[in-house]
Symmetry: C2
Subunit: 511 residues, 2 copies
Amino acid sequence: MGRLLLLAFLMFGAATPVPPALRAFSSLHLSNSFSSRPAVAMKYSIHYIQQKVDHFGFNTDKTFKQRYLIADTHWRKDGGSILFYTGNEGDIIWFCNNTGFMWDVAEELKAMLVFAEHRYYGESLPFGAHSFKDSRHLNFLTSEQALADFAELIRHLKRKIPGTENQPVIALGGSYGGMLAAWFRMKYPHMVVGALASSAPIWHFENLVPCGVFMKTVTKDFRESGPNCSETIRRSWDAINRLARKGTGLHWLSEALHLCTPLTNSQDVQRLKDWISETWVNLAMVDYPYESDFLQPLPAWPIKVVCQYLKNPNVSDSLLVQNIFQALNVYYNYSGQARCLNISETATSSLGALGWSYQACTEMVMPFCSNGIDDMFEPNSWDLKEFSDDCFRQWGVRPRPYWITTVYGGKNISSHTNIIFSNGELDPWSGGGVTKNVTDTLVAIVIPKGAHHLDLRANTAFDPTTVLLARSLEVRYMKHGLHNWSRALTAFHKRESHFLCFSESRDFSWF
Amino acid sequence: MGRLLLLAFLMFGAATPVPPALRAFSSLHLSNSFSSRPAVAMKYSIHYIQQKVDHFGFNTDKTFKQRYLIADTHWRKDGGSILFYTGNEGDIIWFCNNTGFMWDVAEELKAMLVFAEHRYYGESLPFGAHSFKDSRHLNFLTSEQALADFAELIRHLKRKIPGTENQPVIALGGSYGGMLAAWFRMKYPHMVVGALASSAPIWHFENLVPCGVFMKTVTKDFRESGPNCSETIRRSWDAINRLARKGTGLHWLSEALHLCTPLTNSQDVQRLKDWISETWVNLAMVDYPYESDFLQPLPAWPIKVVCQYLKNPNVSDSLLVQNIFQALNVYYNYSGQARCLNISETATSSLGALGWSYQACTEMVMPFCSNGIDDMFEPNSWDLKEFSDDCFRQWGVRPRPYWITTVYGGKNISSHTNIIFSNGELDPWSGGGVTKNVTDTLVAIVIPKGAHHLDLRANTAFDPTTVLLARSLEVRYMKHGLHNWSRALTAFHKRESHFLCFSESRDFSWF
């Protein structure tokens, strides 16, 4: 597999492996992992709905079980609402557990929380163990099918749960789940009155944003987290290259970096550098202001901690690499339990990663590049041909890089309404996100000091003011939306119908 | 095939067989068939675009040629626009030739006319002669795939034709094509600034409208077109039944009705009655104020002509049936050339009918019923189970009657904008259409004295004032929309971007 493919699929996919402990978890109690605050009890029940494997064709009538979670402690039949998490590329319990915002606002919005698992992830496998077997079985892994699952699920809930029939639903999601929340509002506005799309890079497609914007943001995060930090990383690549070319270089590098499996050839060296790059990328995503355990157990502001080891770019190659090891160790061994570092770790074959790899090879074609000047990475251009060939080798499919913009509108989304796009300024994905208001009802919230969907995480005592403000603004928008929805519903029921038949005296507000 | 299925698929499908003369037609000149007015020269060129057979999956990368027509006589690069006909269940040349409205307004709107053929109709067959072979080949015949074809085509045109890049597109269509135009604006609002959906029964699904509304309107048309007309028809069914039960009744009926193939059993009698019902239905659709040739060559106000033979319900059964024959003869033999009447004629195996039969058995499940009291037909309840079984026998698929409302919103469409829904009061499809304004930008135009998408037909000297007013209102809306779009585009280019970051002083107009 080529480097670009690896890069693309690691952005989301491998970033969300499900900890084995959670996979086995199936009961009703999860408590929030932040010791810094009174934990909101996360009580939910687990449910399943039979979904069509193919919503868009009638040749097969196969169905599969989609998993979803319901938390209704604070839900009220009278004046209540439904917050619907549009699940993304991983186990839904893991997302449920990492979306404390919904739990925090449930009471205020009298909301039922619903977390819907994305098909082909977690337990929601259309063909069970065969789901990833080949392109035929993977054919139904698309964002459109996932949105249709959500629509069917909402209809199902409204039929099944008395009191929900006329309640407004708001879609929420982060990252790819944020894209799904936004797209769900765009494509199924009759299902949800609005959406909160957190860290949703809906513009990271085709040439809507420069392909280098992602790595530029990662670099900025490191540059601003410690003196010489990004410069030290920038110089590390050549140091590694030079060392690798020496007689015993591969052995030395393997020892210095405490690799579980020694490097044996130049391909391994490339894999090593990709793995290190990806570590910096992941750190930029999870640069949270408190100790957390999203991708890995990490200290507060982990990049600052990492950068303490990367203060001096003007040292020998070997010392530079040893410092890089110390920095990597922050990410991979904060617990102090790791005995060696495994460079294939993020390329795990966990379901989440596999599924996202396929999605990146079909619809979710996000161009990435780096040039080593505006960013701290080795130059790497975006080569669609190479990417496509890699995809064909791995999955037997070729990407359609233009499809997402055709179907979801690219930058031309102003006719939609009621979507909050929130982005953290630290988050590398913000470059592909909506960070300026598009219209009065497509609003952008930018969160200084915020990493990847920080706003969707639970309130903590360590949150910067910016994210607290963002959350309160989001709640304000949501309450406003829910209120207006109720008002509109009442008006609709009372409304005198007007039979327009050439009464041309009215004002034209069309278009 | 059961009666209900027949009824359902005859509503649109068989109603649009393509005259053989048109099928063979492939050059650049068609003139309008109305001798009553100066013909607008219909000059168009024929084009093809390679489309993915499956827009929503990646397992197959098969493509097929979709046909489309372009007429650019009046198109202007400067300030021009594109009127895009969202082709429905038939040969696109036939629709092009029956949508004179677009030709009539092209100059005023400086518009390029594009007529896109619907997949599985006309020449746009995904698998050539095998397209209707089985449910596997038919799997890609859905409205969603058709809309995706339209979206790809618009992108293609904007890339290919210099000057179109930034021009606004308006979708137009009638009947099922009107539904597609409305749904296209709903699902791809980034592709079209608005839609004119003429005679589009987007609410003729599930239980959104009473299943009897269609036959009730047909009956009303006959009741108001001549004294005792609907009552005579209401009595004819029992007359036929009584005659059929007599010793030589089948022979007598076959002779009296000049049938090409004699009736031989009670099933034939049912087919005969279905065929007669369908004739009245078709007449209600094409009750145009002038001589026309839409489904059949017909006189002006054909129901009035038909009703001249149906003035007296109080005659003997045999005389009643003879009068029915005279009435049928108006529809089937206006030219005077027919030597006998063929009761399987509307159940032809032409592509259009085949395709629509499949669509009615999958997505386009429109409940119809009659009770003989509110309408002039034999009582016939809507039996989904029977319908589904019929579909399974014929196509190996089962309908999903709820899917269209799930995907397109049913009556909950108020968050969409810029759709004109026009309906003729005479048109039986108006009962399933939007005949009241939903919002200021989802407007309804009701056309008294208008039959099925009369407004989309060319101007004639015989048009009632109502349709002239409707057309002028439609043009006004369209011009307003195009104007606003240009203004919005200019504003967008000039706009200062606002970086919203907790500037909470703004007004909340969200939701």
